[in-house]
């Protein structure tokens, strides 16, 4: 469309045009002539595309394909409207029906979160709201959610990450909560790839820049490097909020005659098409050109918005509220109206603009940040405007709620631009009636070979020297190294309620100073496990987050998730997605905690190379008194005192998908560790009880890097040494290595003060959790000693552990270079080293059957209180696993896929390792219907 030559000479919008009733007679979509009096087509043939003009020019070609709509989707819009859409309407449908907003590929699977949800009397708001809300006491509730901002963070790392934080914070705010903490699960390509040196510092600075300025402590997250994320880094952001239970807000635009108020920043041209252009397509060569699609953040305005909204809530001035995020005003207007069944009349020229030349479709599609949409009663409008003024935030009445039509049909969204109708749509058609696809799914053809290529067959260290070297190498590897270089760019103290923060297993936040009530939060994911087995890999992510919460002593009560996957048009990716959702839904049912909300991010793929399926799971727990929380570090004690160190859970020979297999052999293959959620539940109950009665000095989850990693982290946290004995059944050959580096799930490392050990081990026995005394802390030694294997000073461990990230991304030396570059105006030199190929490692043919592995594994507790040197493990059970397990397991996985609903199951024998999006069979379209729109699947 043409733009106006000189915006300055356009007519000034009048105060309030005529009453909605007069300008918007209700009628069916085919009643096209009803706007004739408003917008004479002749005046606007070269200007704004009005509804009248759309009626008069049915054959005008429209760029729907460029906007990401398919032929059949465009036809459906024409059918809904009974005419071609106007330019503004086309923009609205294209963004609301994009994958990002409509969940059109994921809906049919996500339904399971509702269907399999365990009953919970804590849930005040669940899936379908901006964020789930969980009651934690009679007076207080918390809300939390994790969301992705992956593509923007690749295109423009700082702003992409900053606005990712800003977006999730507004979701939390919209529920009536004060945001009180953030977390940031981050994933990047190879640590030493030059592009990682471009993306990571920007992302970290963006997360910090926005969160620090908002005054939200960053209490945890993840930092993972893997070549599969090269070109598709993942920025997931989680926000936690707290609210009095009676302050819960709704988004419904109820009450015809109520005023629609836009609060916050002016609307600009930033972020137009963010959801359809960035979030719903695969990257290609031109991705750098998409920078204008990324929004720009202004955290100070968001801070004002938070304070203003909270004051409005407390004064009970708001009927309904919705944040403006992806799809901007379009999404907020249609969702608020659709959820109430009402209509809305909006005068678009009243929207305060950064650029006066913006056209209606741009205003409706803009993703300018720091905006909220309020619905308020007319008599409270003045009070609302006054509160906004106090905080220096713009507030503008842009429209009003209109009644549903007399025949019981929902109302219509009518948008005018200087008295000309540019949008006239049923709001529900954008929100609920979007396309739903049951996309074809097929287990990736390479999966069986991948699963058969087990890491248990790889050469392992077999002598003390090699083991010592492995320990030092592992703790210095990018995924296991100290993350301080990143986390010290985040404020973790602000608000004064941070009880635990990274590198602890969970962030713990006090939410009631009077009672000490608090919550614990952890986010975890493991793309390698999910690549090997998306169903169990997702359960493992859930189990780890759950365990991380449990080790602090908190009781896990709710789950959020961010599902990061490749293109849904690739049947292999779609199969991974379906398996992951099924795994998470089943896992939550087994653990008895509901999914309260989440987010799906598809198209994390460059060309045919998708990322590993990466479900990131967040678990929230509650602590009745945060003073009971158990930290991860061994406790320094004077006077020769020391604590006893126990390992809880069973250690199997599980090295496939492990950090060691990757670091030592660049190997990915086999089956991920077994997951037993019943055991995780027992463990969590044990930890909560042990924390409450004060048995535990420290507790630390075992996950990536196994026991060695947890031991070293617990030692270095407060600089306390330890002496460990390798149990007898792990004494020979490579078994000490297995003891230290296996990644078996369901394990926790705890230290227990003298005098508590008998009661603690009795509690373990009562709860059915295997335990084993493996050593003692040694505050005097300043070293970690593994008896008969190695002794490494804490200084040496710390040096190895903490040097990696500063070396890669800017230590003192790199900082000097940066300062110099800033002074002289030269470009900062990225401190990256060699490039590495981007592709996912291929796996060789299966040799698993030859594996000489048949080692032993069950743990039988020795008598309590036995000093470690005298530990006498009594029995060694027969081999718990053999190499041949892998193939039947793969068969099971294949068979399981057949049970997934709505699939077009393809033969798994067909070679599809290099299936690309264009090879994918066309998806079957399932038109939206009442059942779907009422199902709790829209997240």
């Amino acid at each position: 469309m043409t733009t106006h030559q000189d915006p300055a000479v356009r007519e000034t919008p009048g105060p309030y045009p005529g009453a909605p009733a007069a300008v918007a007679p209700q009628g069916g979509p085919a009643d096209a002539g009803r706007h004739a009096g408003l917008a004479p087509a002749a005046d606007w043939t070269a200007g704004v595309d009005t509804v009248q003009r759309a009626v008069d020019s049915p054959e005008e070609l429209q760029p729907y394909a460029e906007l990401g709509l398919r032929d059949d989707e465009y036809d459906r819009i024409r059918h809904i409207l009974g005419r071609r859409p106007t330019q503004a309407e086309l923009a609205m449908y294209s963004i609301m029906w994009s994958e990002h907003c409509s969940y059109k590929s994921s809906k049919v699977h996500l339904r399971q979160f509702g269907e399999k949800a365990p009953p919970s009397d804590r849930l005040l708001a669940g899936i379908g709201e901006n964020a789930g809300v969980v009651r934690v006491s009679d007076e207080l509730a918390v809300t939390f959610k994790v969301e992705s901002h992956n593509h923007p963070s690749f295109v423009e790392p700082y702003q992409g990450a900053a606005t990712g934080v800003g977006g999730i914070v507004r979701d939390i705010l919209a529920m009536g909560a004060r945001p009180i903490a953030v977390m940031d699960p981050l994933r990047f390509g190879a640590a030493d790839h030059p592009d990682t040196a471009r993306v990571l510092p920007g992302v970290v600075a963006g997360v910090g820049g926005y969160g620090n300025c908002l005054g939200l402590p960053n209490i945890g997250g993840e930092l993972v490097f893997d070549p599969c994320y090269q070109g598709n880094p993942l920025l997931n952001a989680l926000c936690l909020g707290v609210l009095p239970v009676d302050r819960l807000q709704k988004k419904d635009a109820t009450g015809p005659g109520n005023i629609v108020v836009l609060l916050g920043a002016k609307t600009g041209r930033d972020g137009i098409g963010g959801v359809s252009v960035l979030a719903s397509a695969t990257f290609d060569e031109g991705s750098e050109q998409r920078r204008p699609s990324v929004q720009v953040g202004d955290p100070f305005t968001e801070k004002l918005l938070i304070e203003a909204c909270l004051e409005l809530y407390d004064a009970q001035l708001v009927v309904g509220i919705q944040d403006l995020g992806g799809a901007g005003l379009t999404c907020a207007l249609t969702e608020t109206a659709a959820s109430a069944g009402t209509g809305m009349r909006v005068w678009l020229e009243r929207v305060p603009l950064r650029e006066p030349s913006m056209e209606p479709h741009e205003i409706l599609a803009s993703e300018s940040q720091e905006r909220m949409l309020l619905v308020v009663t007319p008599e409270k409008l003045d009070a609302v405007l006054k509160t906004a003024e106090k905080w220096g935030v713009l507030a503008t009445a842009i429209g009003e709620v209109t009644a549903p039509s007399a025949d019981g049909q929902p109302g219509r969204l009518l948008v005018t631009w200087r008295d000309h109708v540019v949008v006239d749509v049923p709001p529900g058609s954008l929100v609920d009636d979007g396309p739903v696809y049951a996309r074809p799914m097929r287990e990736p053809a390479d999966l069986i070979l991948l699963q058969a290529d087990r890491a248990e067959t790889l050469p392992r260290p077999t002598n003390p020297e090699a083991l010592r070297e492995t320990v030092l190498r592992m703790i210095a590897s990018p995924n296991l190294a100290d993350k301080t270089w990143v986390t010290e760019q985040y404020d973790r103290y602000v608000l004064g309620n941070t009880v635990l923060a990274q590198p602890e297993d969970s962030g713990v936040i006090r939410i009631d100073e009077r009672t000490g009530l608090g919550v614990a939060l952890s986010v975890d994911g493991n793309g390698r496990y999910a690549r090997l087995d998306p169903y169990n890999g997702t359960k493992l992510a859930l189990a780890e987050a759950y365990r991380n919460v449990a080790v602090t002593g908190a009781k896990p009560i709710a789950v959020t998730n961010c599902l990061n996957f490749g293109s849904p048009e690739d049947p292999g990716v779609m199969w991974q997605f379906a398996e992951a959702v099924r795994g998470l839904a089943d896992g939550c049912l087994e653990l008895g905690i509901p999914v309260t909300g989440g987010n799906v991010s598809f198209y994390n793929q460059t060309g045919a190379a998708a990322i590993h399926p990466t479900p990131v799971v967040g678990v929230l727990g509650v602590l009745d008194d945060v003073a009971d929380r158990v930290p991860m570090g061994f406790v320094p004690r004077g006077g020769g005192e020391h604590d006893q160190i126990f390992l809880l859970g069973d250690t199997h020979v599980e090295l496939s998908g492990s950090e060691w297999a990757w670091v030592a052999h660049e190997h990915l293959g086999g089956m991920p560790p077994q997951v037993d959620l019943g055991r995780e539940r027992q463990l969590a109950e044990l930890m909560a009880e042990a924390a409450r009665v004060g048995h535990l000095s420290s507790a630390h989850d075992l996950s990536d890097g196994g026991l060695a990693q947890s031991l070293i982290e617990s030692c270095l946290r407060r600089r306390v040494g330890a002496r460990i004995g390798v149990p007898e059944r792990f004494a020979d050959g490579s078994l000490p290595f297995v003891f230290l580096f296996s990644e078996s799930a369901g394990r926790v490392l705890v230290s227990v003060q003298r005098g508590h050990e008998k009661a603690f081990t009795a509690l373990c026995a009562e709860r059915g959790v295997p335990w084993e005394l493996i050593g003692m802390t040694d505050p005097a030694s300043a070293a970690l000693e593994v008896h008969g294997q190695f002794r490494i000073g804490l200084d040496e461990l710390h040096a190895a552990h903490s040097a990696t990230l500063p070396r890669l991304f800017g230590g003192p030396e790199a900082a000097r270079v940066e300062v110099e570059a800033t002074r002289t105006g030269t470009t900062t030199v990225a401190p990256a080293t060699a490039a590495r190929p981007v592709d996912v490692p291929t796996t060789g043919p299966a040799e698993a059957a030859d594996a000489p592995v048949a080692e032993a594994v069950a743990v039988v507790p020795p008598a309590a209180g036995v000093p470690v040197e005298e530990t006498d493990p009594t029995t060694t059970e027969p081999a718990a696993e053999t190499a041949t397990d892998a193939v039947p397991a793969a068969d099971e996985a294949t068979g399981a896929a057949a049970g997934v609903p709505a699939t077009e199951q393809e033969p798994t024998t067909e070679a599809s390792a290099d299936v690309t999006a264009s090879d994918a069979p066309a998806a079957e379209t399932v038109p939206g219907d009442d059942e779907q729109s009422s199902a709790p699947d829209k997240r």
């Binding site: 300025c213 202004d298 100070f300 004002l304 004064g496 006090r510 003192p812 900082a815």
Partner: protein, 227 residues
């Protein structure tokens, strides 16, 4: 009569609630002051808390200096009112010329949050009389623009007059000249400190309780000062 300590809230203040909590734990009554209100409501001392007063997209504290409440505070400070500026508050005090020098971007260009050892060198101020000279304390530092700079003459003068209140020990987190973490005016009633004593007042949430000394100091000072 409990002392009343004002805590100013600018629209972008972040640690105002924490400063008020610290005042309360120290045994005084926190009184919230609003940036747009020049009235000090009879407070006996004032804390300018950390944060981003007006967004600080310009120079930190450059706008806050002109806030209505600041005009009153500047006058009162010249008359002896104890004023503690923490982080952003320190920046504002420098912009308002109650303290010399300026705080610039950290030398390494990153925001940095860590538990920091300080050595308290001047214990004659209204805010540090509860410490002993040379005492080492552990409190959090967290800032992006905490690099203290001044011309050599000013630095020499600060040193000569014993107005360097605290220095960084065991590593300088932001490149501040002469490791300066906190300074005072010549009267000793106005103190600016970059690290955050209000985040070290509770065992549960801070690395130590060392921060409490700043708030108990002012109470001691007020008892010894005729109203």
């Amino acid at each position: 009569m409990t002392a009343r300590v004002g805590v100013v809230t600018f629209p972008g203040s972040l640690d105002d609630g924490d400063a008020a909590r610290a005042v309360r734990i120290a045994g005084a009554d926190p009184v919230r002051l609003w940036h747009g209100d020049p009235e000090l409501h009879g407070v006996d001392a004032v804390v300018l808390p950390g944060g981003f007063s007006y967004g600080d997209y310009l120079r930190c504290g450059a706008i806050a200096r002109f806030a209505p409440v600041m005009e009153t505070i500047v006058d009162a400070a010249r008359g002896g009112l104890p004023v503690l500026g923490i982080c952003n508050g320190f920046q504002i005090l420098c912009e308002a010329h109650l303290l010399p020098g300026a705080l610039t971007r950290n030398q390494h260009l990153h925001f940095r949050n860590r538990d920091q050892v300080l050595r308290v060198e001047s214990v004659g101020t209204a805010w540090t009389n509860a410490f002993q000279a040379g005492q080492e304390i552990l409190i959090p530092v967290k800032n992006g623009e905490g690099c203290y700079v001044a011309d050599t003459a000013t630095l020499d003068e600060l040193e000569a007059e014993g107005r360097v209140v605290a220095r960084y020990v065991g590593g300088n987190p932001n490149g501040s000249q002469r490791d300066i973490a906190a300074i005072t005016n010549s009267a000793g009633n106005v103190v600016g400190i970059m690290p955050h004593p209000e985040h070290a007042v509770e065992a549960l949430t801070g690395p130590s309780l060392d921060g409490l000394g700043f708030f108990t100091s002012v109470l001691k000072h007020l008892v010894g000062t005729p109203a």
